[in-house]
C-alpha cells in the first residue's frame, strides 16, 4: 500500500481556491482524484519495470496525484513536471512536493503549451484529471482565461472542451514507451474517445479502472502506442 500524500499543510483557503468545485461536493471531487491514485497504484509494478525519465501532470491542483506518483517511484530518479492554469494550484503543488519530499517542478500555463516543442515524444508518464462539469462554452472559456477555481470544474460543452484540446497533444508528448492516464466520465463518450485516438493518432486505449461515485460513472483510460504493455 502506498500512503496517500500528506496534504495537511494546505489551508482551507488553499482548498477554496484550488479545488472546491461549485455545485459539487468536495467529497465527490475527491473520488475522481482517488480513482486516479488507485489506477496508478495498480499500474505501479508495470511502471517501475521500465522506470520513467520524464513525467508530466496537467492540471495538478493540490499536487496530490504527482506526489503519489513520486511515492510510487520512490528511490528512482525522475523529472516530474506539473502544469496548472491556476497560479494558486501551482503553489500548492510545490508545497505538497516539499511536504512529501518529492521533487516536482510546477509551471503555471495552459495544458503543456510551452513544453510541446521540447518534450516532443519524450514524456513517459502523462496524467490529467481534467475539468469535467458540462457548462456553457463561454463559461468554460472565461474560467480558462481567469485561471482561478472555476477552471477546476468548468468543462464546456459535454464537459469535454479542455479534454479535447488535451487529446490533440497526447501523441506529440508520449515517448515510445509512454503511457497517458486520463480521468473521464461516461457522458464524455468513452468509446468515441478511444476510436478517435486510434483513428487519428494510432494510439491504443484501455480502460484500466472504473467506479461509480454518486450518479457518476468514472473511468481511467490509458493511452499508449502498443496495447501489450
Amino acid at each position: 500500500m502506498i500512503p496517500t500524500p500528506d496534504l495537511s499543510h494546505l489551508t482551507k483557503y488553499d482548498y477554496e481556491h484550488v479545488y472546491e468545485p461549485a455545485g459539487m461536493s468536495y467529497y465527490l471531487a475527491l473520488q475522481y482524484t482517488f480513482l486516479l491514485l488507485d489506477a496508478l497504484e495498480e499500474e505501479a509494478d508495470e511502471i517501475k519495470k521500465d522506470p520513467p525519465l520524464i513525467c508530466l501532470e496537467i492540471g495538478s491542483g493540490s499536487g496530490c496525484v504527482s506526489a503519489f506518483l513520486g511515492a510510487i517511484l520512490r528511490q528512482l530518479p525522475v523529472v516530474q513536471i506539473a502544469t496548472d492554469i491556476n497560479p494558486r494550484a501551482s503553489l500548492c503543488t510545490l508545497k505538497t512536493g516539499t511536504r512529501n519530499k518529492i521533487s516536482i517542478d510546477p509551471i503555471t500555463c495552459p495544458l503543456a503549451q510551452p513544453l510541446l516543442n521540447r518534450l516532443r515524444h519524450s514524456v513517459d508518464i502523462l496524467l490529467f484529471n481534467p475539468p469535467y462539469v458540462p457548462t456553457g462554452s463561454e463559461e468554460a472559456f472565461d474560467a480558462q482565461t481567469r485561471g482561478d477555481i472555476s477552471g477546476a470544474w468548468a468543462g464546456g460543452a459535454s464537459g469535454m472542451e479542455t479534454t479535447c484540446c488535451f487529446l490533440k497533444d497526447v501523441e506529440t508528448l508520449l515517448s515510445d514507451r509512454g503511457k497517458c492516464y486520463l480521468v473521464a466520465l461516461n457522458q464524455n463518450d468513452i468509446n468515441g474517445i478511444c476510436t478517435m485516438m486510434l483513428d487519428e493518432f494510432n494510439l491504443q486505449s484501455k480502460i484500466i479502472m472504473q467506479r461509480r461515485a454518486g450518479r457518476e460513472h468514472l473511468f481511467i483510460i490509458r493511452f499508449s502506442r502498443t496495447s501489450n504493455m
Binding site: 525519465l53 503553489l91 519524450s122
Partner: protein, 123 residues
C-alpha cells in the same frame, strides 16, 4: 522550482512565435542551491533530452561557468557531477525569462514560472 533541467524544456508559446523562441533568457534572477542525490546514470539519461548549447548559456546566466561550450563525446564522472549540479541543484526562485524572438517576459516568483498568456496572445 525552475531548475535548469526545466528551463531547458520551455519555449515561448505566444501565438505566431515559432522560430528562435528557445531558449528563454533569464533576467534578474535570484537563485538558491539545494543539494540533490547524485546518480550518474540518471544524468547520462537526461543528456539525450537536453539542448547542450542552451544549457551552457542558461548556466552562465545564473553564474555557473563549469560546463564546456561543446558537448564532450566522453562524459567522465567529474563532468557528470558538474552537469548534475547545473541541472538539478540550481533553483531559480525569483526573476523572469524573456523570449529571444518576441521579447515576451515570463515572470518567475516563489520558484514558479508564470507562462499564462493574455487572450490575444494565445495560439
Amino acid at each position: 522550482m525552475v531548475r535548469l533541467i526545466t528551463h531547458n524544456l520551455l519555449a515561448c508559446h505566444v501565438k505566431g512565435c515559432t522560430t528562435n523562441n528557445f531558449p528563454l533568457t533569464f533576467q534578474d534572477v535570484q537563485i538558491e542551491l539545494q543539494e540533490a542525490e547524485f546518480n550518474p546514470e540518471f544524468v547520462r539519461n537526461l543528456l539525450s533530452r537536453l539542448d547542450w548549447a542552451a544549457l551552457v548559456d542558461a548556466a552562465k546566466q545564473v553564474g555557473d561557468t563549469s560546463l564546456p561550450p561543446e558537448e564532450p563525446e566522453m562524459m567522465d564522472d567529474d563532468l557528470l557531477k558538474k552537469l548534475h549540479h547545473v541541472l538539478l541543484e540550481i533553483h531559480v526562485i525569483e526573476g523572469a525569462m524573456t523570449c529571444p524572438n518576441c521579447k515576451h517576459v515570463y515572470p518567475i516568483s516563489n520558484g514558479i514560472p508564470n507562462m499564462l498568456l493574455a487572450e490575444h496572445e494565445i495560439g
